[in-house]
Amino acid sequence: MSDKGKRKLRGNIEGNARALATGFKYLVEPNRMTLDYPVESMKLAPNYRGFFTVDDKKCIGCSMCEMVCPPEAITMIPRVISTTGYTLPVQQGATQEAGAKPAKKTKRPVVNWGRCIYCYFCFDICPVDAFVSSNIHDLAFYNDADYRPSYEEYLKLPEDPVKKSKKVIPKPDIKRGIKYEPAP
């Protein structure tokens, strides 16, 4: 710590006055950035990566998504294809289709929401683009078990938990940074 090249401090009065004036400016003209969350909530862009589900009919059960998933959130569960083209649980499929020609065995992905990191790698690796995205993201579960839906539960997208709130769209703004405009 030599004294060489030490800097001098600038004048005090102007700096204090400016700092106080800036503080006062924001006191009388606040630029609020926070969203009053459960009362208002954002309407997110369609490309927002939120909860997603799979198109039961499109999926071919190739397990590529299971393989690519970084946190190993996807489990492939065995299903059988019914005559309608949708899949059925293995036992049910066996009883219903008894007598007919043997049901075609297949697999379908189920996501463990407690592990998923919403990287959407599964979306992009899927050879038939079978995943269906949504931009619902603000959802938590009360029980640990709820994080691991059954396949039937997984097929239904969860409901938007803040559906009743006022939806706003964030708009970049030169003066305020972000302006929340009411969604149409």
């Binding site: 924001y26 006191l27 606040p30 950035m33 926070t34 009053d36």
Partner: protein, 338 residues
Amino acid sequence: MGILLLIIWLIQDLLYLIVFPGLIVAMVLVILLIYLERKIAAKVQMRFGPLYVSRKVGGALQSISDLLRFSFQEFILPVGSDSIAFLMAPGFMFAFAMMPLIFIPVGPYYSYLFPSTLTILFSVALITITPIYAIIVGWASDNKFSFIGSLREALLVISYEIPLLLSVIAMVIVYKTLNYIPAVAFQETHLPGIILNPIAALVFIIVAIRSTGRFPFDITEADSELVMGLYTEYSALFFGIGMATPYIELYALSLIFSLLFLGGWWPASGHATGLLAGLFMPGVMVIIKAFIVMIVLVFLRAVYPRYRVDQAIRSGWERIIYLGIIAVIISILEAIII
């Protein structure tokens, strides 16, 4: 008859101490002030501030809910602490922070618990007692951070007490009295103290910021260095008391400021003696002025970071004390002229 008068006198004084402008009003003001402090800071900081407790009134009950939370928390007595000192010190601190209010009149017709013509002297002297308990708190906690906090407090108190006294002495020289009531009367006939001697007002404000630990002198509780400073080991109501003490001090200092510099109960200085016009109206006037001062001081939180302890001490000895001396000189000149 004599006994009856004595009882009335006592009841009046107790009411004065406990209700107005003493404990209850002080607590209400402090709770309101903490809420406003958070709201003001939030406004500057682009956010909402307290909101979810009592949404309808903008979160105004947040401080009360905090108080309740402190009241029902578990109290933890650290193993290594000096338990008696640890338990007693915050109470004493709070009591001594309240004590100056005995000597601070909020109206021209006010009888004291201890009749005195030296009220300015007594109130200022009492204000300087609180830091001793702050030091005891730090010592009793048996925590390095608390200890460092209390050492800092001690160093700062030494460096800022003299300017406080100087600025008060400056005003005493102008008013030629050690009693608040004639001092306010002087301001009513002449000019408010802040115009008579702005330097003294500035010194007093700086010292008030310092001794109540407002930013930029939030040094004893610097959380990025000392966790919570003095109160690191405290929990529950004791922590709450510790937190409220600086605000009570702030209240007392702001009252003194409004009496010495802002003309006290002017313009509500009716010369009636009734309870309403004689005590209440002037009192409300003083308290409004004091509250504005308090709000200005808490607003500083939104503007400043904190000084380093040595810088604060140095500015105390190198700048503020000279300002205090200048203030005294100005006052002497004025006293000669007037």
